[in-house]
């Protein structure tokens, strides 16, 4: 569909801009299919080459994520009292950690397909929840996304696996370090975790 659209546009036909606007469910479907297909097509990824998976997440998924919003949501109140320098370092470590998390999930991809569940509108037209089921055999795995409108496109600002929202899970796990040693403790913890993950080859 998108290829046809692109061809149509390049051919200079009279497609109005309104038609080029993506619906949130189409956005999620395209992105998930692309990522799953990329994993399936890549023998190195299936063999567990984590650096390849990270590159895939970095190039394909991350541009569609509002990282800033995710990190603020995951950190909660302490974010406001952090210095700009701390915020910058925290965002960097969080980004790496998020890539690692997502990459870890992708190592589980085998021959799944993705199905949309009925759209559940969010509190306003600019934010929606899109639910998908990752279907293999047996029980489907629930994978949902919170999306915000960004111009004509959509950006992911939260996702959930089997009902657990990523930012909720992060906030719960971050809380101990934040209350113990503040933002610096959390930065140290994330940095340590990222190094540890980088150290394990598989």
């Amino acid at each position: 569909m998108f290829r046809t659209l692109a061809i149509a546009l390049t051919l200079g036909t009279t497609l109005s801009l309104a038609q080029a606007e993506t619906t949130p469910d189409a956005f999620v479907m395209t992105l998930s299919t692309e990522v799953i297909d990329a994993v399936k097509a890549d023998k190195a990824i299936q063999a567990g080459d984590v650096s390849r998976i990270r590159t895939l997440v970095d190039t394909k998924v991350l541009p569609n994520v509002n990282l800033q919003r995710m990190v603020v949501k995951s950190v909660g109140q302490p974010w406001r009292s952090a210095t700009p320098e701390q915020q910058k370092r925290l965002t960097e470590e969080f980004k790496t950690y998020l890539i690692n998390t997502y990459a870890g999930a992708l190592t589980q991809v085998r021959d799944q397909t993705v199905k949309l569940r009925p759209v559940r509108a969010g509190s306003n037209a600019n934010e929606v929840v899109i639910g998908t089921d990752v279907v293999n055999k047996g029980e489907p795995i629930q994978l949902d996304y919170r999306l915000e409108k960004a111009g004509d496109a959509w950006k992911i600002y939260d996702f959930n696996v089997l009902g657990l929202w990523a930012t909720d899970s992060f906030r719960s796990q971050f809380a101990r370090d934040l209350s113990g040693g503040g933002v610096d403790a959390l930065i140290a913890r994330l940095s340590e975790k990222n190094k540890q993950i980088a150290g394990t080859k598989n």
Binding site: L67, Q68, R69, V72, K73, G76, Q77, W79, R80, P84, Q87, K88, T91, Y97, N100, T101, G104, A105, T107, Q108, R117, R120, S123, V135, K137, G138, E139, P140, Q142, R146, N160, V161, L162, G163, L164, D168, S169, R171, S172, Q173, F174, R176, D177, S179, R189, L190, K193, I197, T200
Partner: protein, 246 residues
Amino acid sequence: MSRFHFALAALLLFVLGGCATAPGSPNDPFEGFNRSVFSFNETVDNAVLKPVATGYQKVVPQFVRTSVDNFFANLGDAWSAVNLVLQAKPVPAIEMGMRFVFNSTLGLGGLFDIAGDAGMERRNEDFGQTLGRWGVGPGPYLVLPILGPSTVRDTAALAADFQAAPAAWFQERRDQTGVTVLQVISTRARFLSATRTIDDIALDKYLLIRDGFLVRRRNQVYDGNPPEEPEPPEPPEEGSDKPPPK
């Protein structure tokens, strides 16, 4: 076995219930106790379960392991069908009943998941979900020795679930033990790579598993459509008009 576990859990709950840690989730008043059982389980898992499951995965060929998984899942389907009846959901109950009948006959006693190949999805229902459907709240989070994450409600429900466990389909005590051991090993083997991923990414494994377990159970009770919970408020961003730091 069921009575023993239930009594043990109830006793531990009673004795150690007092040692709740101060800050934490309202769902987890026994966090201190739960964490100690959790680390006990981790020790057992690392020392026994994981090595045995890894060996099982290495030695037993894939098609045999799939058949073993199918066999247990098929018996689970029958119990799911019963629970769907108890939950007054006739259509899914019939579907899961059909699934069980197809697989038990044409699928050679459940060794082959022909219903799944034909596109019939599996729904796992247990008595804890049935109680939830009847309006029983989950109660506090509870980590059970060996059995792992649970809630007070689900622990009570285990008494019924054990009566319908695959082992209950066998007469001889020796067979029952063998079946239970095989079920535990094959289940653990299926989750080897998933738990490896969790080990990799978790900052606090206890919390990750607890939060995940609680929302998943809630989801299961509402069949994937839990009543909407308001998104937690986001702290107002200072300088949100500035571009995000790169």
